[in-house]
């Protein structure tokens, strides 16, 4: 081996180290992205489940006239530019027995459906849901 010569072993080691570091970087980036999606979906599902339970519980007073106001929390997530965003989800009845909750997440619609039991007269008022998270459940 000559003076100042770079050995084949060193070059190979450098290549292997670079490949491993790049692979880890890709795995971590993919993991973070998946975690963000999961975390957002988890928040959406929790709000959807709680709202569906609340609506189904109104069956116990379905022979009365009622107005229930509830505050839906913002769903917080990090967008593709790394900014933390807080948005209220959209909540609607998909049909008589299904509640749909949806959120525009990084340009795509993320949504979930939940089974509910309700009186035909029970309606949702979502006019101010997008502004202050106020959801109104009305009957009669």
């Amino acid at each position: 081996m000559q003076k100042a010569q770079i050995s084949l072993d060193l070059i190979l080691t450098m290549i292997v180290v670079l490949i491993i570091v790049s692979a880890f970087a890709i795995i971590i980036s993919d993991f973070k992205s998946n975690q963000e999606i999961r975390l957002t979906k988890e928040q959406l599902d929790l709000i959807g489940q709680n709202t569906a339970t609340l609506i189904s519980t109104t069956q116990t007073i379905n022979d009365t006239t009622f107005v229930i106001e509830t505050n839906i929390p913002q769903i917080k997530y990090t967008d593709i530019n790394g900014n933390t965003i807080g948005n209220y989800p959209k909540i609607n009845f998909a049909d008589e027995n299904t509640l749909n909750i949806a959120l525009l997440f990084n340009g795509k619609i993320m949504d979930s459906n939940f089974k509910i039991s309700k009186s035909p007269n029970t309606v949702l008022v979502t006019d101010s849901l997008q502004y202050n998270g106020k959801l109104v459940i009305k009957n009669g």
Binding site: L8, D9, L12, Q49, T53, S56, T57, Q59, T60, N62, D63, K115, I116, S117
Partner: protein
Amino acid sequence: MAKGQIFSTDLLFGMVILIFGFGLMLALAETSMYDAKHTKNERQLQEKTELALLLLTSSPIGQCDLNGTKIPYSINKDKFTIINATTQKQLKKALLLEDNNVNLSFTGTASTTTLISELVRNANIISIDANIVVCTNTTTFYDLNNCLSAVSPCTNPKISMQKVTLTVGQ
């Protein structure tokens, strides 16, 4: 080490240990995620079962209506006189338990009435017992009132206190 040799035994051992370590790390991460998912499923099943019991005993599905007064936590057993596969499916749908294995019965001093009987052998099982009022189509509010004010245990066949058991598996 021979001239021009690329991989040494040390390097191969090192690679094997590295891959093994990486696999172990992934397995640990998977276990912790499974635990979190299991806890979430359990919580959801608990909420689902409690809601089903509430719907059965405190909504028009099964609730007693005594002269216009709707009694919370009660079952009108005359609403469930026909029990077959179709009615069981309808009841499961009404209780939002279509996707679950369900066992539902209420037990009095003399008899047990089974509304839904399915084999519940799932990974997650929640069972709830609750004391409820069981009435019939002919029970009146006065029957309830008389039973409530009776000094000795109420023996009116049209109204009784029974234990409802709801078991839900997912």
